[in-house]
């Protein structure tokens, strides 16, 4: 287990480049499914470039916390992404942390995101922060228990070793423990990335928005890093889902062909998961805020059942 600078660079580049693509695909497909034309898939890239060049407007009430928050969000999501196996079983940064560090880093980003929402003294930001922290708090036990279910069968919290163990165990999707953990993680993914039925990324209506409410006062490059960070976080969580539960297709050796193939399959898996997200977003209405805990406790129960079934089927 060593650090390969090249692997780190490659994965960083991949995360940076692929994250807006996934957001764009989801936005575009959702529009198509709803009989709208929708923005082109590469629109998020154009947005980012536009935001980066724009002037920054900062609230007169905001302190230094407001200005560092986007960078914390961006850097924590990116560092967390380096701990996930994406193309090969070996994640570039698995030595520095596994599932627990990843969850911790994403939580650190969220901590600063919520502070950034509170700082400009607007009621919207506070509302977004309050809701974001509440929902993440009740999503966290489900997330942790689902990860535990996988970690206990693999005997490790290191995501690379989890992927490897599942790979070697001739892993099949019909294992009930993993099926339920997958379902639980999928619900957590919807919550953590601010998707319908928990949050609506397309709305700026004050009564319903959560994530967008915290970003209202951001502009220019600060907004760019907030948006980019959020899409990287989404990509990281989706990669965990596709690569831990369908690990069989990671690159076996270091040849360029194997990498190319692994990349292709990875993108296909991501597109499949994105399609699932799009369908869920389209066929569901947003839940009332106080109904969200019901959904998330369902995720918790699913994860707990998954854990119980590892106990029963051993």
């Amino acid at each position: 287990m060593n650090l390969h600078p090249l692997a780190i660079l490659l994965q960083t580049g991949l995360l940076l480049a692929l994250a807006p693509f996934v957001s764009g695909v989801i936005k575009n497909w959702k529009a198509k499914l709803q009989n709208r034309r929708g923005p082109p898939i590469w629109q998020p890239y154009l947005d980012l470039i536009k935001f980066l060049g724009k002037d920054v407007v900062i609230s007169e009430h905001a302190s230094w916390v407001f200005s560092i928050a986007p960078y914390v969000v961006f850097l924590t999501a990116l560092s967390a992404g380096l701990m996930v196996p994406i193309l090969t079983v070996q994640a570039p940064l698995s030595l520095f942390g596994g599932a627990l560090a990843l969850i911790g880093l994403l939580a650190l980003g969220r901590f600063f995101l919520a502070l950034g929402g509170l700082d400009p003294a607007s009621a919207f930001g506070g509302m977004g922060s309050s809701r974001e922290m509440t929902i993440s708090a009740i999503a966290e036990p489900a997330l942790m228990l689902a990860i535990f279910t996988v970690a206990i069968t693999a005997g490790t919290t290191d995501l690379s070793r989890v992927a490897a163990a599942l790979h070697e165990a001739n892993w099949q999707l019909l294992n009930p423990a993993h099926l339920m953990a997958f379902a639980a993680l999928f619900i957590v993914l919807l919550a953590e990335t601010g998707r319908v039925p928990i949050d609506n990324p397309a709305t700026h209506l004050e009564l319903t928005m959560i994530h967008e409410a915290m970003l209202l006062e951001y502009s220019g490059r600060l907004l760019a890093f907030m948006e980019w960070g959020a899409s990287i976080k989404q990509l990281v969580l989706m990669s965990i889902l596709v690569n831990l539960f369908l690990p069989g297709t990671l690159a076996a050796d270091g040849t360029v062909a194997a990498f190319g193939l692994a990349f292709l399959i990875f993108v296909l898996k991501l597109l499949g998961l994105s399609a699932a997200v799009v369908v869920v977003e389209t066929v569901n209405a947003k839940l009332r805020l106080f109904r969200v805990p019901d959904l998330l406790s369902a995720a918790f129960v699913l994860a707990a059942l998954g854990l119980l079934s590892t106990f029963l089927f051993q």
Partner: protein, 686 residues
């Protein structure tokens, strides 16, 4: 091991103890000259703590797993009672915590106590501060049950006096009395527990207690365990014995709050560790299960109640209950592993608990000092009157933010490291036993995750409402940065937070003597995955983490935003402008989210627990749409207070009233009582 080493440690400790005494006496003598009393009191306590810190750290670095021979501080006139002290690894570890905080708090107190000069008797504050530190150090060193209890009592009484320092407020007096009563109920249980041990060993010396439980009848051993759990649990503030803690800690002066939340409640953890790992022998399974359950419940309930608070110091006090819970999760798991004969895992879980003990001491003291600085500047503990302090007291804000990140268990700081170790031990615990009990480990882990996420929510609230956005009152608008000594005290603790977070492997070597003494295992060499900068679980394939590595990588990655700025945004400008106020002319502070509003979703989700009450009164002319005044009040119910303590109190009153009939005040009745008692005793004697 150089032969002079133990002697040196002992000398340093004796000098420290004497300096504490000097501090006590001199500040009492100088109580009429406020500034001089402050200088002497906190000068002495700082130097004494520094001596203690040197002694304990050299002891732990040298890695003595066997104690230095006990010696008597002063000769005793009573048989069985020896004022003997002994430095062993466990005592030295806790001694290190109290000395570390002693140094930082003494520095802080120079500035903080100045605010009392002329208004209150600072001599008394300094004297009791020194006594408290002295007694706490002795608690960790005492080698005799009697001496331990005496030190324990002095500690409780001086803490009571410090809590009641601002006794002109009603709230303070009643909190002090509550603390006094609860503390003594606890001590009563401890006395009974030690009597049970005495019965088995016929001595009060701690060395005769070692692994005594294996020679005791199981029923008595379990009784002793429960008595100690109750007695030390009161001091530690476990749920449901916690009610005194959020009452007493906030009303004390902030340096004392920091000491109480940082160290005094840890004496409960020390006692429990000492008793269950050293005295009571091989634990049955239910001990560990009980401790783990209590820990989990305390952690979750502590943080939930903390979220409901808008008094900054009460919020921090509730977080102490949460963190005690997390520590107990480690200890409980360790007891369970000892039962199933997994000493390495037991050492890991114990290290996790002890690591969290020092971490909590450091970041909680840091946060209380920050709260003290805020209180000093705004004269209020109510968060709803704060806001915007990050601009007026930037350094305090930075220190408080670092403390908040640390206590929320976020990487790369120390709270994350100790919770990471706890998670690892819980995960590996799943394989230690085939019974259904093992499901407890991952479920506790999930509850730990809930606790961590709620703590993060709570500290977004605590930091965000206090330091960010607009000032909500004139007090907050007039706030000023704390004086240098108060900042230095916070700075020391911030630095320790960073060190404990970034260099866990190096710190864990200090825990080696402790785990060697209590579980027979040396851990630090097993906790590195090849490199001294990477922390691993005891099974190297179980997972690794490197907080330093993450930090360095994040620093390298920050070149990306810099490069993008250079590419795209070099010529962009930064403009300061008003926040959008929905078309209102000016953004008022009343439009901000409040602390109460922030935690409303959580209050609604857990309303079965909180039973929130709210009352809205409005007055209006003509039509309810044009309200002229509106009054809103809301509170949550303290379930333990209303469901357990209040009925219990009523019951005690009822009994006492009945008992009063016995005490009619007539001398004839008393003579009859004496006569009857005599008869009864004679009857027993025959």
């Amino acid at each position: 091991m150089p032969p002079g080493f133990p002697l040196m440690s002992a000398i340093f400790i004796n000098v420290g103890l004497i300096l504490f005494l000097v501090g006590t006496v001199s500040s009492l003598v100088l109580q009429r000259r406020g500034n001089l009393a402050v200088a002497f009191a906190f000068g002495c306590s700082g130097l004494a703590a520094l001596c203690g810190l040197t002694a304990f750290i050299t002891f732990l670095v040298a890695g003595f797993s066997r104690p230095i021979p006990a010696y008597e501080l002063f000769p005793s006139l009573v048989p069985n009672v020896h004022f003997s002290v002994r430095i062993d690894a466990l005592g030295a570890f806790f001694g290190m915590i109290v000395s570390l905080l002693g140094v930082a708090l003494s520095v802080y107190s120079f500035g903080y106590a100045k605010a009392f000069v002329g208004r209150k008797n600072v001599g008394i504050l300094g004297a009791f501060f020194n006594t408290l530190l002295l007694a706490t150090t002795l608690v960790f060193l005492a080698d005799n049950a009697f001496f331990f209890l005496i030190a324990w009592e002095i500690m409780a009484l001086s803490a009571y006096c410090l809590v009641s320092f601002e006794h002109e407020h009603d709230e303070t007096r009643s909190a002090g009395v509550l603390y006094f009563i609860m503390s003594h109920i606890g001590t009563g249980c401890l006395i009974l527990g030690f009597l049970l041990l005495f019965q088995a060993s016929q001595s009060y010396g701690f060395e005769t207690f070692h692994a005594l439980g294996d020679r005791m009848p199981p029923a008595k051993r379990d009784a002793a365990f429960l008595l100690f759990l109750f007695g030390f649990g009161v001091k530690a503030g476990i749920v449901p014995l916690h009610t005194w803690l959020p009452a007493a800690h906030p009303v004390a002066p902030s340096n004392v709050s920091a000491l109480m939340s940082g160290v005094i409640i840890k004496t409960g953890i020390y006692g429990l560790t000492r008793v269950s790992f050293d005295f009571l022998g091989a634990p049955p399974n239910w001990w560990g299960v009980t401790v783990l359950t209590i820990g989990t419940i305390s952690a979750v309930l502590g943080v939930l109640y903390a979220l409901m608070e808008h008094d900054l110091k009460r919020l921090l006090a509730y977080h102490s209950i949460e963190n005690i819970g997390i520590i107990l999760m480690g200890l409980g798991a360790a007891l369970m592993f000892l039962h199933t004969h997994h000493p390495v895992l037991a050492a890991l879980a114990l290290s996790a608990g002890l690591y969290h003990t020092i971490n909590h001491a450091v970041f909680k003291a840091l946060l209380f000092l920050g709260a003290g600085a805020v209180l000093h500047a705004t004269h209020t503990r109510n968060m709803e009157e704060m806001g915007g302090l990050a601009k007026r007291m930037p350094k305090t804000a930075l220190f408080f933010l670092i403390g908040a990140v640390a206590i929320s268990a976020l990487p790369p700081l120390n709270g994350f490291v100790s919770e990471w170790l706890t998670y690892q031990s819980l995960l590996q615990g799943f394989g230690t036993t085939p019974s259904l009990i093992r499901l407890m480990f991952p479920l506790s882990g999930a509850m730990l995750a809930l606790t961590g996420a709620l703590a993060a929510a709570c500290f977004v609230k605590a930091f965000g409402i206090t330091f960010l956005a607009q000032a909500r009152s004139q007090h907050a608008r007039d706030a000023h940065e704390a004086p240098f000594s108060m900042l230095l005290g916070q700075g020391i603790l911030t630095a320790v937070c960073l060190l404990l977070g970034l260099f866990p492997v190096q710190f864990l070597t200090l825990l080696d003597p402790v785990t060697k003494q209590l579980t027979g295992e040396v851990l630090s060499s097993k906790l590195t995955a090849g490199s001294a900068w990477v922390l691993s679980g005891t099974a190297p394939q179980g997972g690794t983490v490197s907080t330093l590595g993450i930090t360095l990588i994040a620093l390298c990655l920050s070149s990306i935003p810099v490069a993008l700025w250079w590419l795209f945004a070099r010529r962009s400008r930064k403009r300061i402008d008003a926040t959008w106020a929905c078309g209102q002319p000016i953004l008022q502070p009343q439009m901000e989210y409040t602390a109460t509003g922030f935690s409303k979703p959580i209050r609604m989700i857990f309303k079965a627990l909180f039973r929130p009450h709210r009352e809205v009164q409005r007055e209006y002319d003509y039509s309810p749409y044009f309200t002229t005044t509106i009054r809103f009040s809301a509170h949550v119910e303290e379930v333990f207070e209303t469901r357990i303590y209040r009925p219990f109190r009523r019951w005690v009153w009822w009994i006492s009233r009945r008992m009063r009939a016995l005490q009619a005040g007539s001398i004839q009745a008393y003579l009859i009582y004496i006569f009857l008692t005599l008869l009864l005793l004679l009857f027993f004697a025959l």
